[in-house]
Amino acid sequence: MAEQTAARPFTAAAFNLYLKENKLMGSRCTGCGAVYLPPRAICPACQSNILEWVEMSGKAVLAGFTVIASGPTFMIKAGYGRDNPYISGIVELAEGPRMSARILGLDPRAPESIRIGAPLTVEFLEQGEAEARHTYLAFRS
């Protein structure tokens, strides 16, 4: 299993496959140790191209957020809209990297009550029907 993991390229497809397996995986530069999420194939800090997959703890805090009433088509199809708004956010992981994700467990109808810095834990959100079904990265309060 470890060998198979190591063989995956640092692509969005591989990242999404990990999400489907309920793993939040980033990449770590074997040269300078910098950790990246989303995963990168080239380290911007030292330009090394020797990186390895690393699993994130899934612990994070909220860095910025919004409650969206007028969403993109795939969210409208999933039942979201003015009568059913949802929270999108940017989270900062315990390991340092930041990432965009759906935010769960906080009240989209009371955005004033949502606190930047709120502690969150990773959740793997299944959404969509049939071929559109996809595992989305989410964090829950």
Binding site: A12, F15, P38, P44, A63, G64, F65, T66, V67, I68, A69, S70, G71, P72, T73, M75, I76, Y80, R82, P85, Y86, S88, G89, I90, P97, R98, M99, S100, A101, R102, P111, I114, I116, G117, H134, Y136, L137
Partner: protein, 421 residues
């Protein structure tokens, strides 16, 4: 990074034109472009032969998604009768126009061309809102940002929540940006929303009376701006009036070598500084309350121009959302981090204030045909610097002006600085 401290050859703007911005079901992008070009031709004080134009750059974000039309540049050049000149489309999301302008500047500065047309065009209103949201969304990272459900109002709303948390701003502070930009746009006949917020409110009341519908009971602009029906939440804390509209529009300018500018006009604008930068996705930035690319692009432009933020008399900045104008006013060095919203609140950035921002009405009121916006900013600077801005003319002359045009969440930013001598 290697940067030049000055252009290898001076460049001047000697003509500028734009069409009326708005929603025009009967017009395609080429119709809009033709209108902008015709106004440009008329704007050249001493006249010129359009056939002397040697090459053309066209800023366009997504003709493909908005009107099912790719490869726009040769179509635009054909529409104005200038084939077989080279036609180059430039795409950097909502910064396409400003980046196209910068490419035109480099084409003249390099010595390669002596007459360059730079245009920008976008035809956005054919699509329903959700599809416009999807089309604009492709300017973000579709693999790693958009699956979170983000929209462009959503990204800027996340910037706003981080800014509110860090600096104590409230959503009401942002409404001051909207009030100002509509006040300016009310004086701009080319603006899509050529009306102030009080004027808009009166229009709604009058329409309700005429139709025999319940008449709104707003007493103040704050009642209106906080009314969930009149000004609905789009992405908290941003409401409809915090967001620039969906717009059809085009703009065009003519660039020539500085040493030949007086063949065209006695009142040229000299391009004395230009800078451009890129950045990582919004979520990968350590600080959500500043756009690194705007800071980098403006530093390059200031250095090239040999001026500072304090020297700039007016600026057209990329207020795709109200928070974007606040952040821009800090990124450009006009105000310290965290002071931008206070300066807007105190009227410092109003047309008659010490640092006027978006005298055109900005993207908010003038409209935001994304590929055209960066060029349209230059049209406003052209008018203000030449004393031709009519009712919205800032007092006391405009020796130095700046334009700030952003792509997506600041993954691109381009800044240009202009001088009247």
């Amino acid at each position: 990074m290697t940067k030049r401290s000055s252009l290898p050859r001076g460049v001047a703007v000697v003509g500028a034109g734009m069409c009326k911005f708005g929603a025009f079901p009967e017009k395609s992008s080429r119709d809009l472009f033709v209108e902008a070009f015709q106004e440009l031709v008329k704007s050249v004080d001493k006249g010129f032969d359009p056939l002397s134009i040697e090459t053309v750059y066209v800023g366009n974000y997504s003709g493909e998604l908005f009107e099912g039309q790719g490869h726009l540049a040769p179509l635009m050049v054909d529409a104005i009768g200038l084939t077989p000149r080279p036609a180059v489309r430039v795409e950097d999301a909502c910064a396409s126009g400003g980046v196209a302008f910068r490419q035109g500047v480099m084409a003249v500065a390099s010595g390669m061309y002596d007459s360059v047309l730079v245009g920008g065009v976008e035809k956005m209103t054919n699509l329903p809102t959700a599809q416009v949201t999807d089309a604009l969304g492709t300017a973000a990272d579709t693999l790693f940002e958009n699956p979170a459900g983000f929209t462009f109002p959503g990204f800027y709303a996340a910037i706003a929540t981080a800014y509110m948390h860090k600096y104590g701003m409230t959503p009401q502070h942002l409404m001051k940006v909207t009030l100002k930009n509509h006040e300016n746009g009310a004086l701009n006949p080319k603006a899509q929303f050529n009306v102030s917020i009080p004027g808009w409110m009166k229009g709604r009341v009058d329409a309700a009376i005429k139709k025999g519908k319940p008449v709104p009971t707003w007493q103040t602009v704050w009642d209106f701006l906080q009314d969930d029906a009149a000004n609905p939440m789009i992405a908290w804390p941003l409401r409809l009036f915090d967001c620039s509209p969906v717009t059809d529009g085009a703009a065009a300018v003519l660039l020539v070598p500085a040493e030949r500018a007086h063949e065209y006009t006695d009142a040229p604008l000299y391009v004395i500084g230009t800078g451009q930068a890129s950045d990582v996705a919004l979520h990968s930035r350590a600080d959500l309350t500043t756009l690194n690319a705007a800071r980098a692009a403006s530093l390059t432009a200031y250095e090239m121009a040999g001026v500072t933020a304090n020297d700039i008399r007016i600026a057209e900045v990329h207020d795709c959302f109200t928070i974007a104008e606040v952040v821009a006013s800090e990124d450009l060095g006009f105000f310290a981090p965290g002071d931008g919203f206070r300066m807007a609140d105190e009227g410092v950035t109003s047309r008659l204030g010490p640092k006027p921002i978006n005298t055109s009405g900005g993207l908010k009121s003038k409209g935001h045909p994304v590929g055209a916006s960066g060029v349209a900013q230059i049209i406003e600077v052209w008018k203000q610097m030449r004393g031709e801005a009519g009712e919205r003319q800032v007092p006391g002359g405009v020796p130095l002006a700046l334009t700030h045009n952003v792509g997506a969440t600041g993954t691109t930013c381009v800044v240009n600085i202009f001088e009247r001598r």
